[in-house]
């Protein structure tokens, strides 16, 4: 049996994407829907130390793909999403979305991306329709187009009946659907979903999965999602990256990842790569069994 790799081990050979290192930064920015290379991000820690949230994270997402980032809390998933969505700047590394350098040209990048953050962000004191219309205005749509777009999205996300109600009266599932609708107002080519189904009931989760699949297939939107649910990643994503301690420790399509380790669930793959307590426990068991 293969011994479990340590937390910050290099990527598993064979699971790594076959993309060759590009000759220049410009070329790096030209390919794929999302390209992040060598991202380093530190935050002030206790005393004069700095906590490394990202430690050379690299990932690439092809156009039209559904890509899942999984990993323990604090592994760097949300920091990665923040950098890719122009909310934070990395200390080192490059990041591009749809060929637009998010660090050098954030304003341009913002038009290409849609973001559904972990925290809702919808204004609870406004109605669903008002939230959508305001969002459309912020992308520069004139009033008539904004209203039309809001109605389209309300319809698509089955919120038409609740359109005139204050968002604070919405159920968790309705609020999450509104969040996704808000992220899609301007028809982005790339959509970031940070833990889209956390806290949803099974029915709402299933509906969200359908919607994400539809987005990638029918609308050809590239989707990058983070999740704690490995069944979700397994089911939805064409590629999965396991992030631990600020690096990608394994990447590949879910079937491949499972085959590589000879296991039959993505949970197992995850625990092997990023489950520190589990690793120690298995190591002990192995020693004891010898």
């Amino acid at each position: 049996m293969q011994s479990p790799p340590a937390g910050a081990s290099p990527r598993i050979p064979g699971a790594a994407p076959s993309r060759a290192t590009p000759p220049s930064r410009a070329a790096a920015l030209a390919t794929g829907a999302i390209e992040a290379r060598g991202l380093v991000k530190t935050y002030p820690g206790p005393g004069k130390t700095r906590v490394r949230a990202l430690d050379g994270l690299t990932l690439g997402v092809a156009k039209g793909a559904i890509f899942a980032l999984v990993g323990p809390n604090g592994a760097g998933k949300t920091t990665t999403v923040k950098i890719l969505t122009t909310l934070a700047r990395p200390d080192e590394g490059t990041a591009a979305v749809e060929g637009i350098d998010v660090i050098a040209a954030p304003a341009q990048a913002r038009r290409a991306i849609g973001v559904v953050a972990q925290r809702s962000g919808a204004d609870p004191a406004a109605t669903g329709r008002e939230n959508l219309i305001l969002q459309a205005h912020l992308y520069g749509m004139p009033t008539r187009a904004a209203r039309q777009r809001a109605d389209e999205l309300l319809d698509r996300f089955q919120l038409s009946e609740a359109a005139g109600r204050f968002v604070r009266t919405y159920s968790g599932g309705m609020q999450r659907r509104l969040d996704v609708a808000l992220g899609l107002v301007h028809q982005p080519r790339v959509l970031f979903l940070d833990e889209p189904t956390t806290g949803l009931d099974p029915e709402s989760r299933a509906a969200m999965w359908d919607e994400i699949t539809t987005l990638a297939t029918a609308d050809q939107v590239t989707v990058l999602l983070t999740t704690h649910y490995l069944d979700e990643a397994d089911r939805l994503a064409g590629r999965v990256a396991i992030v631990d301690r600020g690096r990608v420790v394994a990447e590949g399509d879910p079937a491949q990842l499972k085959r590589d380790l000879g296991v039959d669930s993505l949970d197992e793959v995850y625990l092997r790569h990023a489950g520190r307590r589990y690793s120690d426990a298995t190591r002990l068991a192995e020693v004891a069994g010898r």
Binding site: T86, R111, A117, S120, D123, L134, L138, R156, D210, D219
Partner: protein
């Protein structure tokens, strides 16, 4: 859920009107919320109004002290002070709303759109201006109901409102900055507690300047809250000293602009690294 065919990609307004139009839409959001909860505005003036009538009654006889003068009504004397107090105290809670929007993720939602950063702060300033105007007018009306007269007329009241907006924007901006930098409600409360009463009592809000000890007079003359009190009192009188009003209005305007500029800078750096 069904798929829709998308219309052609949205055309975007040029950047030059973006600040104006984004300010418009974002201010609209704030004012709509305000108009749906008029009780919140009214509750805000309750405390100042209690001061107005309690102090007005408790100290009504001070008007008889030789040299106090002022229309023979202490209530009328108090009004500009209470307006100033309200403008300061109600806008010092702006930082709370800022923290709320940060915690809820609303601010980040705006920051990932191309919306103008300046417009996001403008909306906050515009909301403070509108709410302060309404509250000032409520105090003026209640004062009138209580027997105060305004010889300065509509123009005097307009100047009083203007000065209260300046003070409101000044403290609103400082409170927003505190909220953004420290992201702790305690800090916003701390700023309030630290400044509110000292600035109120180191002013002529409650008593004619001649009755204050020398050191207090010296501080009061440099206290922006006191400038507002003096502007209001002069503008509401029968013979306003317009040049003094103009100088103090200008002084408040400069301070308010500086405070807004600092808070916009703080916001821009916040937005770069959420």
């Amino acid at each position: 859920m069904t798929t829709t065919t998308y219309p052609e990609r949205v055309r975007v307004a040029p950047a030059s009107n973006a600040v104006a139009s984004d300010t418009w839409w974002l201010t609209g959001r704030k004012l709509r919320a305000l108009s749906r909860q008029p009780a919140v505005l009214a509750m805000g003036v309750i405390q100042p109004v209690i001061w107005l009538f309690l102090f007005g009654e408790m100290f009504r006889k001070v008007i008889d002290i030789p040299g106090f003068g002022y229309q023979g009504s202490y209530l009328a004397y108090l009004i500009p002070g209470i307006v100033a107090m309200n403008a300061m105290s109600s806008n010092m809670w702006a930082g709370m709303a800022m923290i709320e929007e940060i915690d809820r993720g609303t601010l980040n939602r705006f920051l990932v759109t191309p919306a103008s950063r300046l417009a996001i702060m403008n909306a906050s300033v515009a909301e403070q201006a509108v709410s302060t105007t309404v509250q000032t007018l409520i105090i003026v009306l209640l004062g009138y109901a209580g027997g105060a007269h305004y010889p300065g007329g509509a123009l005097g009241i307009a100047i009083l409102v203007l000065a209260s907006i300046e003070v409101g924007v000044l403290w609103g901006a400082l409170s927003n900055m505190t909220g953004m930098l420290l992201r702790a409600r305690e800090a916003v409360i701390g700023v309030y507690t630290f400044f509110m009463l000292p600035l109120m009592f180191l002013s002529t809000a409650f008593i004619q300047p001649g009755f204050l000890p020398g050191w207090m007079q010296a501080i009061a003359s440099r206290n922006p809250l006191n400038w507002e009190v003096q502007i209001g009192r002069s503008a509401l009188s029968a013979n306003p000293d317009w040049s003094a009003v103009a100088v103090r209005c200008g002084g408040l305007l400069v301070l308010a602009l500086i405070a807004v500029a600092i808070s916009v800078r703080t916001f821009r750096s916040y937005a770069k690294n959420v």
